[in-house]
Symmetry: C2
Subunit: 643 residues, 2 copies
């Protein structure tokens, strides 16, 4: 069996003793695991013991690509970062696009495993065969923009690609992110804090090789076709034009734009923070990722006496606009963008930052925390000044920021039991900005996601008709794609029927597949439908030479979900952790969906059914047969004592 | 949703009151069930109560086709017959090729449900919209050849296609078959006896319509391609030339040709009953099925003073050659063919006939039954004269034939406990002629098959290299096809490892799919590899207009296995019925595999694992989630009290 797509090499770097090793993996390994989350989970399950605290020496952080990363397939720019999460204490994972993943492949590696801890700050330099652990003491404490420049200058190669943490990661903010070229982020589950705990500020990569694919011409042809036809897709066009925040106004009209800590679903200021408004006001230019012509990323710039936003930090995605905007009651696009820029500067996940602050705002408005505790800040919904200040306090762990830096779940424990209901978290991770009460499949996705509430795990399909007419939303349904699974009839967004659970598992397989292949969901199924599932089968085959199929790929997605579940079981998670924040069980107070809530019994029933459909036992632990069916029977010996 | 492929009409005929009704089914019904076993099971599960005795008025017999039956796709000639089985008391099913299935579609029906019982012998005449229940009193008791001629003469249309039972079916021989044009047989599970119990001798069909397909040109192109290229397939070529008994000699050399009631795996006379020998001796011509250029059927003729074989009854398949030949110790091809012809004349399944007789032979040789009980017959292995006589005694229920007509399991109960170990049955049905000790996956297939031991349920892959070198057999493995399921590495034939069970379930899905689509396995995956799985997806899509996939089709196969399991659960079957005859747990006494046997504990473990992989509970009952995942959640309300 020959090896195409992958390099066959895994780089292992031990920060405790400085060892660097290159381990070879055989073609069958890639055939089974394919990439991204599956490769990361293979190593984490094998090597990171269930007893490990995320900040322990024994935790490992893995940067993994897939067999298609770095090819010309649009959307194949991404990479997975994974470790035991300081936020959830379970499987931590985040993906980012950009240029770093392809560069790692060009340097000759499919993944980097970083283990141990350095005593002093370091960064890793990977340049083809040359791998060095370098001093980063002089970079410690600096903002990401400064570090980015400094490393590039030090290495003297402008083509070097850098992932790094910011000061927030250094300070172990539990939702610290990892940035890539300053504008792409592996945001969720606090992986930046794992790097921080290892005193690892950055990984700089430069590669001059190429990814060897089986059928180069076919891939080139597809890339050309995609570039030529992308704007014919009704999904890609607005994405190019307005970015991911293209639907902010529409969501508010539909009553599902999370607003004021998920209290309500409509936001009066929605249009003022919309993609359209952004495009008309402070947008400077657009950016994209390796091999992708869509250019969905925004770059904003403001240069006013009272507010400066540096364009090197790009601009906000939808999740950031909603978390830092409507969800905190902020209707000023410049303030939203400044908050986004601060998160990029200091290295914090915009979702958890926004939702932790909205939690604090609600606690303040409800009198649970005082102005004194807030060092005098009037932290009300919509107070821009207090809002921007609290971001810095969190990043620097100053005052109450030191508590909020633990995330809203842990902060609520400190604020007292009356605060707990306002912490909008699942498995201690803050909800992304999709209103579960309007899309019950998304809510189910939050509840069972292995990484806690997570927009890249929730298996939802936000595509809806351009008019933004709420009655015309096609929730979760791409009629044609779902047909491939024998699912023919659309199912209401606000349903948790057995058929909805059936639909959900198939969507979840697909979403997971994207995190296995490190493929951008925005250009592919199920969201944009530009790269259809059948196309993907051909593309993966053309890259790898494998005889593959929809079955094979979708099962790789299921493999990822199941391995992540196994990791969490080993980490002590049980079915009791598959729950939603109380608020999603309370009626929406406004908008077209006023009065809608998720019934607890219905959710519990749906989760039980989900376990059964997944081949998991009643405790939510993958059964022996399922693991063997998925070709990962070796995990059984680890799980057997938990069943 | 438009309807292509299927006619959308189900014909229901009640023999008790003479009612004839045409019921319409909607396109979604076909999209979910697709055809054959799934359509039959849909009606049987819904309509035939678990309490029904197979000979009761309430049993129903269903003749079903699929959405591709009657198109130009090679191998699409088949139809499914299903009822509660008089042999197993569970789900009874058999498929046959030929011309009757397509003709039923041309007449405008996808399936015929026959219910109730007639007081007097009748046959059914279906001619497009005209459906009649006609007198068959004058046909009762006659051989199939006579009845075939008589009905054609009576109806005056030479193009009429006829399925019928023979005298054995009339006499409720529990392994009576249903013949189609005298040479194609729905052989197994005794469905001929169900027709006999209803006093239904035949169904004659004539249709002048056509099957409307979505993309006629694509199907025509494929049919032309197949016809032109079929002989390039290393599997199809010997099949055309030598028929299905092409590997008799090779199997004996490999030590897996069932011989003398499955006692041993080599047969000295193998070459004398081989496909090669048949071709050189009494072969008159070959025959084929509708739309198939392979012509794998043999037609033999003998016209000697001491032995006459009429060519209108065709000739033996592999199963018949082995069951009536090596398995009974018969090494005379003319005697084997005469026995085959007698089974066709009287309407008995050749497999169960041969294996019931081999059982009686062993009982006689072991002194369990006496010459007196045998009306003076010296029923030893290899005694041709006694062998041919006992066939007639069974067909006519004369003497000990009246006991053997109940099948070997029930006969053993009458002969006493010492006889029971010689009854080579699973779920009371006789083993087909594939030595489970040499192919442990086949053995597993026998144990868990919903219809009892059955060559069209066992999910095996008898393809091996042409040399017949036993070391080169590629058991169960079509490397390329299994790759589509992410199964890459070959697994030994004599293994019941977890990985083997994994391979087995995927093969079983495929085999079941063939019984759903009523597609001949000999021209398709996994046996001949001529119609690849990817081709099949395209062909089904071209016929129906569905957006389908490997996932969708393979899940339709799984749906069939699961529905059949549900029917059996409702009929009182439990995991205790998933066992093998004792002999397969004893060492093979000869040949290259001498000493090989199936370990009981390994089999039990494999079966438990199989249940878990199938989404069935520890009792082997499909769980709620699996049924919903397969889109057949309506069965849950029936099964809930058995779980």
């Amino acid at each position: 069996m020959e090896l195409y797509g992958a390099t066959g090499k895994i780089l292992r770097i031990n920060l405790t003793n400085g060892d660097v090793a290159v381990e070879k993996q055989n073609p069958l390994f890639y055939r089974v695991y394919m990439g991204g989350r599956n490769i990361a989970l293979y190593y984490l399950i094998n090597e990171v013991s269930s007893k490990v605290d995320p900040f322990d020496n024994e935790n490992k952080i893995i940067f993994a690509t897939s067999v298609i990363t770095g090819t010309l397939i649009p959307g194949s720019s991404r990479f997975t970062v994974a470790a035991k999460s300081p936020l959830t204490n379970g499987y931590g994972e985040a993906e980012a696009g950009g240029w770093w993943g392809p560069e790692l492949k060009f340097a000759g590696y499919d993944a980097v495993i970083v283990e141990g801890k350095s005593v002093n700050p370091v960064y890793i330099w990977i340049c083809n065969d040359k791998v060095e652990i370098r001093d980063a003491a002089y970079l410690w404490g600096k903002e990401t923009g400064e570090v980015y420049k400094a490393i590039k200058e030090e290495l003297g190669d402008s083509k070097t690609r850098i992932v790094q943490i910011g000061p927030a990661g250094e300070k172990l903010v539990r939702f610290a992110n990892i940035s890539n070229e300053l504008i792409h982020f592996a945001g969720r589950t606090g992986l930046g804090a794992v790097m921080g705990s290892k005193k690892l500020r950055a990984l700089a990569v430069r590669g001059t090789g190429e990814v060897v694919v089986k059928n180069k011409i076919k891939i080139q042809e597809y890339a050309h076709w995609f570039a030529k036809n992308r704007l014919l897709s009704p999904c890609i066009k607005p994405l190019s034009k307005l970015g991911t925040s293209r639907y902010v106004s529409a969501l508010s009209k539909m009553g599902i734009l999370p607003t004021k800590n998920f209290y309500q679903g409509t936001f009066k200021g929605a249009e003022k923070i919309s993609g359209e408004y952004l495009a008309e006001s402070i947008l400077k230019k657009t950016e994209g990722c390796y091999a992708c012509p869509v250019r969905c990323k925004r770059v904003v710039e403001v240069d006013k006496p009272e507010l400066v936003i540096e364009s090197q930090y790009g601009g906000p995605e939808y999740e950031s606009v909603a978390s830092l905007g409507s969800n905190c009651g902020i209707d000023d696009i410049e303030v939203v963008c400044k908050a986004n820029e601060l998160c990029a500067r200091y290295g914090m996940d915009t979702i958890s930052t926004g939702v932790t602050i909205s939690f604090a705002m609600e606690c303040y408005e409800k009198g649970i925390i005082s102005k004194e505790q807030l060092s005098g800040l009037e932290l009300k919904f919509g107070n821009s000044d207090a809002f921007l200040k609290i971001i810095l306090m969190i990043a620097n762990r100053e005052g109450i920021g030191n508590i909020l830096a633990e995330g809203s779940y842990r902060a609520a424990k400190q604020f007292g039991s009356s605060a707990e209901k306002y912490a909008m978290t699942v498995k201690k991770q803050e909800l992304p900005l999709h209103e579960g009460r309007g899309k019950w499949g998304v809510a189910l996705g939050y509840a069972v996601s292995p990484t806690g509430a997570d927009h890249l795990q929730a298996a939802h399909d936000p595509w809806f008709e351009q008019q933004g007419d709420s009655s015309k939303e096609i929730d979760f349904i791409d009629i044609t794609d779902m047909n491939l699974f024998g699912i023919i009839e659309p199912i209401a967004a606000t349903s948790l029927s057995p058929e909805k659970v059936r639909l959900f598992i198939h969507l979840q397989y697909l979403w997971s597949l994207h995190n296995v292949l490190d493929l951008c969901i925005l250009v592919s199924v199920p969201e944009s439908r530009m790269i259809k599932l059948e196309d993907l089968v051909k593309l993966v085959g053309d890259v790898t030479g494998w005889k593959t199929s929809i079955w094979d790929l979708v099962k790789a997605g299921e493999r990822g979900i199941t391995m992540a579940r196994a990791f969490n079981t080993l980490s002590g998670f049980t079915s009791n952790d598959d729950i939603l924040p109380e608020r999603l069980h309370e009626p929406l107070p406004d908008g077209p969906l006023k009065g809608t809530y998720i019934d607890k019994k219905s959710l519990t029933d749906a989760i039980s059914l989900y376990y059964e459909m997944m081949g998991w036992d009643i405790k939510g632990i993958p059964n022996k047969g399922k693991l063997i069916e998925l070709g990962i029977g070796w995990i059984n010996k680890l799980l057997s004592k938990y069943r």
